[in-house]
């Protein structure tokens, strides 16, 4: 951020080198392309978006439904095509729009598959849509030489840095809790499971290692961005980034996320660094024949300023919304998602659901595997909003159905759905999470505090 030193105030519309933005565009495209190839080749399109009979939509987005059968591959193919177009900078805005829409559409389908890194990609794709990342080293700049530029507005690069900073700092803040720091859990549980790895396996069972990793991880997340921003510390800080994410990649099943972070954080490197990379790959042609930067009208500046401020405020406040809820955050999961709580807890649950015929008082235990996939059942058992959604699925399925058992025939109308759910949090013995006394169909799915969950006993 050498630019700042010459200028007292941070000016979002100052012209800076476009090189970091160009490199970021290519990195983003490549990672998204590979991530999508990986997703498809693992059979997850079929497994997650074709096989299930029911889906757990997000509040207010339940209308987002998967496409019929194999058609569900279409958005994934569009992701591949648009990612390729983003890499080479061809029809960039249309490609970024396609990518953003398809990716977010897929993520909205089923919250069973929610991952913070998918949320990160959704946000990044949205941001990319507004950045002029095709104005150099791209087919677009070849086709329309009038857009070729060697500079960009400062906010474009800063926004990416801001988003990365949010991920790290909030992940760090989330780790400041007694389970993580005082009990070293869930890391103690996760690390000991690796006691068979070569050389360091025996260390994995040591408590001090779990404490070291917990504290180091927390400190790393909280402060790494500040070290990355400092010119003096950046090279060493980046080594930490690489080491940290490679370690998590080795130890935990977190897919492409480590790679996304390792490569995305290159944005913190100086403009000169990125320029040299471009020089190398384009034989310096990227510097030739740029157009002069356009001066923005004060109205455009104002609009941009407002939009940016709005986005930043939302990003800063959203992770803190949990303070509006009483009770334990990890237990109740009210305000848990979209808050960069990454690799933070180990929750395991067992849910037994009952369908009660109100006329006869007879009840049936539900075989969850008849309705949900294993992943869905696993996620549902510990997440209160999904429990309510599942109760509705069960109610709708049984309502008005006539069941023939032996020579008996029972027609069920407006069944009650009850559940007995036990949850174990961060290795504690399982506790009652949901009591059978509640008819879950009578409870509304909304953002209010959920009083029907059993209180958490530490």
């Amino acid at each position: 951020m050498t630019e700042i030193k010459t200028n007292k105030l941070f000016s979002p519309f100052k012209e800076i080198s476009i090189a970091p933005l160009i490199i970021f565009r290519i990195i983003f495209g490549v990672l998204m392309f590979l991530g999508t190839v990986r997703f498809i080749s693992k059979g997850w399109v079929q497994q997650l978006y074709i096989d299930p009979s029911y889906y757990f939509g997000y509040l207010g987005f339940e209308w987002v439904k998967p496409l019929e059968g194999q058609l569900m591959y279409i958005p994934f193919i569009l992701l591949l095509i648009s990612a390729l177009c983003i890499i080479v900078g061809l029809f960039y805005r249309a490609s970024a729009l396609t990518f953003s829409l398809c990716f977010t559409y897929i993520e909205l389908l089923d919250k069973s598959n929610y991952l913070n890194h998918y949320y990160f990609v959704s946000l990044m794709a949205l941001i990319m849509l507004f950045l002029p990342a095709n104005r150099n080293f791209s087919f677009d700049a070849k086709i329309w030489p009038k857009i070729k530029s060697i500079t960009t507005k400062q906010w474009t690069v800063s926004l990416i840095k801001f988003q990365l900073a949010m991920v790290y700092i909030f992940a760090g803040i989330a780790k400041v809790n007694s389970d993580w720091l005082i009990q070293a859990n869930p890391l103690k549980i996760w690390l000991q499971a690796h006691h068979n790895i070569p050389l360091v396996g025996s260390l994995m069972q040591e408590d001090w290692l779990a404490y070291t990793f917990s504290w180091a991880g927390c400190i790393y997340d909280l402060f790494i961005v500040f070290f990355l921003l400092s010119n003096r510390c950046r090279p060493i800080a980046y080594l930490f980034v690489v080491f940290f994410h490679l370690a998590t990649w080795y130890l935990f099943p977190i897919g492409v996320f480590p790679w996304v972070m390792i490569f995305s954080t290159l944005i913190f490197f100086s403009a000169q660094f990125h320029e040299r990379v471009l020089d190398f790959f384009s034989r310096k042609t990227w510097r030739e024949n740029p157009v002069k930067p356009k001066r923005l009208s004060s109205l455009r500046k104002k609009q941009t300023r407002y939009l940016l401020t709005l986005y930043i405020i939302i990003q800063l406040l959203l992770p803190f919304r949990y303070v509006l809820y009483p009770g334990d955050l990890f237990w109740n999961e009210e305000g848990f998602r979209f808050s960069w709580r990454v690799m933070l807890m180990h929750k395991e649950g067992h849910a037994t659901f009952y369908m009660v015929d109100p006329k006869t008082g007879r009840e049936s235990e539900i075989n969850n595997s008849k309705f949900l996939t294993r992943t869905q059942e696993d996620q549902m058992a510990t997440q209160p909003d999904m429990i309510l959604q599942y109760a509705q699925i069960l109610k709708n399925y049984h309502h008005g159905k006539t069941f023939h058992y032996g020579d008996q025939k029972i027609t069920v109308e407006n069944p009650e759905i009850r559940a007995k759910i036990y949850v174990s949090l961060n290795g504690r013995p399982a506790q009652l999470f949901v009591d059978k006394k509640h008819d879950l169909t009578k409870l509304n799915y909304n953002l209010y505090h959920r009083t029907w969950l059993e209180p958490f006993k530490k």
């Binding site: 997850w44 869930p186 180990h346 294993r374 032996g406």
Partner: protein, 368 residues
């Protein structure tokens, strides 16, 4: 963009405070690592590799070999019955069928590797039998036992139907198609399991070496299949017949081995088998899940699971009649048994699994 300004100011101050911050955090880490380590605390040695080796060598391999020879005995006694169909020979077949079926309760837990790849569990242990399908196969001949249509017309359950009918001996004496069908069922199990057991020898080193935490690792498979078998046992062997999933209305047609009436024995044997795996061996010697829990300082849970297994096994012992008879006379007793079995699910599926740090999900996971 005021926020960014503040961010930048922070960075500048960070530069000055950096060294202090590093020293402080290092000191904190050191302090923690010393204060939290209790020098007197000695954990019993534990290694997942040892557990897998023990399970493979002292449980799976002998169980598979025993099962293979049980099926050979069944084949031999059936040939004797075919040559001279009389009551004594039929009783011998029944005894061998039952011995193999009992042994199957242990074998079926290990539904991964060759057993899974060959689809052996479904082909052997599916019930109830579709007697119409069996009868039509016998009548029409030309059946393909491997086809999906015949999933409910093969395995132990179909033999239960064929061997224990009132006029079974008459049919074995006079109806060659009937005899041929039973013979084909036995042959199918025997040949297929010989294949499974042969492949197991090659798979064993892979199994023992796969100590990781990914869902495809042998340890995860073992934990997951252990849980799956437990739940299947609970539901299929007891819950469904007594009406747990059908508004409390009993479904005797879903009773396992209904004709022979050995369903409660099979349930008990299944629980015994699960306990053997849990403890790591028959005489409670080798390393099993129990030992891993003790190592993780979860002795209370470790003992509780074992005690519950004993309770369940003893509780089943107390029933005198067959499951069908007890469903008529002792509904409460069966319900109590069911709840007892159900209580264990939370112990093994939630507490034990989370203590092990085994992941159930197949996809990427960031812990939320």
């Amino acid at each position: 963009m005021q926020l960014n300004q503040r961010l930048l100011q922070n960075i500048k101050t960070m530069n000055f405070k950096r060294t202090n911050a590093i020293y402080l955090s290092l000191a904190l880490l050191l302090l923690l690592s010393f204060s939290c380590k209790d020098p007197d605390e000695i954990k019993p040695a534990f290694n997942k590799g040892t557990l897998l080796t023990n399970v493979a060598n002292t449980i799976i391999a002998p169980a598979f070999n025993d099962f293979e020879s049980d099926l050979s005995s069944l084949e031999a006694s059936f040939i004797a019955l075919k040559t001279s169909p009389n009551q004594a020979n039929l009783d011998a077949v029944k005894a061998d069928w039952k011995a193999a079926y009992i042994q199957w309760q242990l074998v079926k837990i290990f539904d991964f590797g060759p057993l899974r790849d060959n689809g052996f569990k479904g082909a052997t242990g599916t019930y109830p039998t579709d007697s119409n399908q069996v009868n039509s196969n016998i009548l029409n001949g030309g059946y393909n036992l491997g086809s999906i249509d015949n999933t409910d017309a093969i395995g132990f359950s179909a033999l239960d139907f064929l061997l224990y009918r009132t006029n079974a001996l008459a049919d074995f004496s006079s109806n060659p198609n009937y005899t041929q069908y039973a013979s084909d069922l036995i042959q199918k199990m025997k040949t297929e399991f010989a294949l499974v057991n042969g492949q197991w020898i090659n798979y064993k080193p892979t199994f023992i070496a796969a100590t990781g935490t990914e869902t495809t690792s042998a340890f995860s498979l073992l934990v997951n299949e252990f849980n799956r078998d437990y739940e299947l046992t609970k539901n299929a062997k007891l819950g469904i017949p007594i009406g747990v999933q059908s508004l409390g209305i009993q479904l005797p047609e879903y009773i396992e081995a209904r004709n022979s009436g050995i369903s409660l024995e099979l349930l008990q044997e299944s629980m015994r088998a699960l306990r053997i795996v849990y403890l790591g061996n028959n005489p409670n010697s080798g390393q099993g899940f129990y030992d891993y829990l003790v190592h993780l300082e979860r002795s209370t849970l470790a003992v509780e699971i074992d005690t519950k297994f004993s309770q369940i096994i003893n509780n089943i012992e107390a029933f005198n009649g067959t499951l069908e008879e007890e469903m008529g006379s002792n509904v409460n007793g069966l319900e109590e048994l069911y709840y007892l079995i159900q209580e264990q699910v939370v112990n093994i599926k939630t507490d034990m699994t989370s203590a092990f740090g085994v992941l159930i999900t197949y996809q990427d996971n960031d812990g939320d």
